[in-house]
Amino acid sequence: MDDRFEVLVTGESMWPVLIPGKRYIARRDQEPAVGDIVVAINPNDAANTIVKRLTVINGDKYQLVGTVSWSSTFAVTRQQILGVLTL
């Protein structure tokens, strides 16, 4: 099975690291580490996915933040992380 999947970015919260409208590759088989950009299920809306930088791992709480100040911060579980972006 291919462990890679394509990610289409919308929104500016990761500007200029990720450009809205561009497609990136993420890997399912990589363990997320602090500093990685990860794709995760939105903890506030399971129908949507988010892409943010992983800044803190505290037990099973993974803190995800954007690059711009107006981005929201999320706390997700390991299970909610779908993959790690390859840049």
Partner: protein
């Protein structure tokens, strides 16, 4: 019989005046300014990224322009329709405050600078304080601040 032509003080005398709208518009101007100053230039060889950047800045500029104009209009309404000559006795710098606030809104349209956005916010707050004092409800200034200073916290 002689007739006397008189004019009403307001186009439609609704009696509804409130500086919150001007403050929200000023906060929007400040927010757009902050975001534009923060948006980093993308890799200029990446056309897609450059296109997106230009679009992002253009949209924020349009919103800044529109809300600065709203702020001006709201301030002008307070100045011309709510405040009366008798208020000058209590607030001798009333005209100066309005003039500076409206000029600041214009400067915010011309430039993208945090200093000007902050100047507009301060000027609107000063007018709001006068407004609530003139209405005889100075305690409402705190409620005004509570609402308008916490719009996106």
């Amino acid at each position: 019989m002689k007739s006397l032509v008189v004019s009403a003080h307001c186009d439609i005398p609704c009696g509804i005046y409130e500086p919150v709208v001007a403050k929200i518009a000023a906060r929007t101007v400040a927010r757009m300014t902050d975001q534009m100053l923060e948006l980093e230039l993308p890799d200029m060889t990446d056309k897609h990224a450059v296109d997106h950047y230009v679009s992002s800045v253009a949209r924020r500029t349009a919103v800044k322009e529109q809300h600065a104009e709203t702020c001006k209009r709201e301030l002008e309404t307070l100045w011309s329709d709510f405040f009366k000559p008798e208020h000058l006795e209590k607030f001798p710098d009333l005209h100066d405050k309005f003039w500076k606030a409206i000029k600041a809104a214009g400067t915010c349209k011309q430039e993208t600078a945090k200093d000007h956005a902050d100047e507009l916010l301060t000027a609107v707050d000063e007018i709001a304080k006068m407004f609530y004092e003139a209405k005889g409800v100075p305690e409402r200034f705190a409620a005004y601040q509570e609402i308008t200073d916490n719009l996106y916290k």
